[in-house]
Amino acid sequence: MKTPLIEFRNVTKSFGEYTVLNEANLQIYENEISTIIGKSGTGKSVLLKHIIGLLAPEEGNIFFKGESVNEMSRKEWDKCRMQISYMFQNNALFDSMTVFENIAFPLSQTTSLNINEIEKKVLSRIDQMDLSDVVNKYPSELSGGMQKRVALARALITDPAIVLFDEPTTGQDPVRKNVILSMIARYKKQFGFTAVLISHDIPDIFYISDRILILWEGKLDFQGSFEELTKIDHPMMREFKDSIAELSDELTGNISREMFRLRYAV
């Protein structure tokens, strides 16, 4: 049996009286794109923050390549973190730095690359993200979608082995959303990286995901492939289908639930 790259065993986390994660068990495998879906406010970002160590579980254990994070020395944990990059839901761009400086910052602080090498790498990423017109602008001068792409460029600039994306396509137009999703899929193919995504872009996100995880009432209620997901009747998917089908019927009367099921294969 494959050892998970990242594993949660009975992880519990509460904020005051509200239990966000309730003995959650999760497995993330190497070289796979794993997508966590769930309703807003169910603790998806909290889950992701536990992976990178921004939050610590109250109970339970987190394992990295089979080793308990709790038992790791600071040096060992830093070595693990070296491979991980994180893209924040609200972008967390450095607001007193320009777009260029934001993207170059991880390289200038954590690598020994010289200025020319950094500039070359950053400009190539800026070009790829379609940000060439805003290189010298500050985050507050950009639209939400652009800020998201800057955050994405910054997360990928160090060529990490594991990338945690917290809603990478939120606020993007359909074209750019597809560009970002296809870029994640292409990266995985090219470099074999491991991606953990949080997304609400159902069903688009299913096309690039190797595994889908549903966070439901504090637990990972489902973990498996898209094909496996279509075979079960999960309340989250049921609610989703109902909401879309009802909306379409009300607006146009054209799309029935059956047609929707055929179109999106859910």
Binding site: I52, G53, L54, D78, R81, M82, I84, S85, Y86, F88, N90, A92, L93, F94, D95, F105, P106, Q109, T110, T158
Partner: protein
């Protein structure tokens, strides 16, 4: 209990930040902070120094005149400034100008998850944000205090000698005769202690602004900033008394 907790964690916070001053890639950040805390505060510090010296010149002239000792004006102004008012007023001015900005800036970085972003990039936030500020304060406070003292003595000269007619030679001769290195050293020890206190309090309040109970977001940053300034001023005055007791 909470007070002891805070005291303990702020000491650990300072020691951890101080040790990280000597890590690589710090020079640029420290220079930037010296510019912000030191160079940019110099105008206001010198202005306050000038008027403090001028008002001391006026007040002390009339007091000393009652004892027929106006010839001692220079030495009294210099000793007052070097031993007491220079370090204290400089520290309070820097707290108001740069300390409040430190707390607000770090607090905003915290609530907008920029400090978390540093952590995820494996950039130690204490090393990157706090250590340069503490180093810059330790460099800037004594320098600005020296400026304050000099300009203050000049201010005293303007009112005492130029306006009120005290003998110019006596003014400077008495300074030379009565001010010794012990006085100057004492003033600098105070300014170094104030630098550590102000920078630690202001950075600590900003860094842990998210742990403040009962207020969130921008309001929390505002309260942290106010609290940092008030606490710094109180600590300056308390520590001034304690250091003076030891130095006397």
């Amino acid at each position: 209990m909470k007070l002891i907790n805070n005291l303990g964690s702020s000491v650990i916070f300072f020691v951890s930040a101080f040790l990280k001053i000597f890590r690589p890639k710090q020079i640029r950040e420290i220079v930037q902070q010296v510019f912000f805390i030191g160079a940019k505060s110099s105008n206001i510090v010198m202005l306050i120094g000038l008027f403090t010296g001028m008002v001391l010149g006026l007040q002390l002239f009339y007091t000393l005149k009652k004892f027929g000792s106006e010839g001692f004006l220079g030495s009294v102004i210099a000793l007052t400034l070097i031993r007491e008012l220079g370090p204290v007023l400089t520290a309070i001015m820097i707290t108001a100008r740069a300390g409040s900005a430190m707390t607000a800036e770090i607090g905003i970085l915290r609530i907008s998850e920029q400090i978390d972003a540093l952590y995820t990039m494996r950039i130690d936030p204490i090393r990157y944000l706090i250590s340069p500020r503490i180093a810059a304060a330790i460099i800037s406070f004594p320098l600005l205090t020296a400026f304050f003292d000099l300009i203050g003595i000049l201010g005293g000269y303007l009112t005492g000698v130029v306006l009120l007619g005290v003998n110019k030679g006596a003014y400077f001769y008495r300074i030379d005769a009565y001010v010794d290195m012990t006085d100057i050293r004492g003033g600098f020890i105070k300014s170094l202690v104030f630098a550590v206190l102000v920078s630690t309090i202001c950075c600590y309040e900003g860094y842990f602004t998210h742990l403040r109970t009962g207020s969130y977001g921008a309001k929390s940053v505002g309260i942290s900033t106010t609290s940092a300034v008030v606490l710094s001023c109180i600590m300056i005055l308390i520590s001034d008394y304690v250091i003076t007791s030891f130095l006397m």
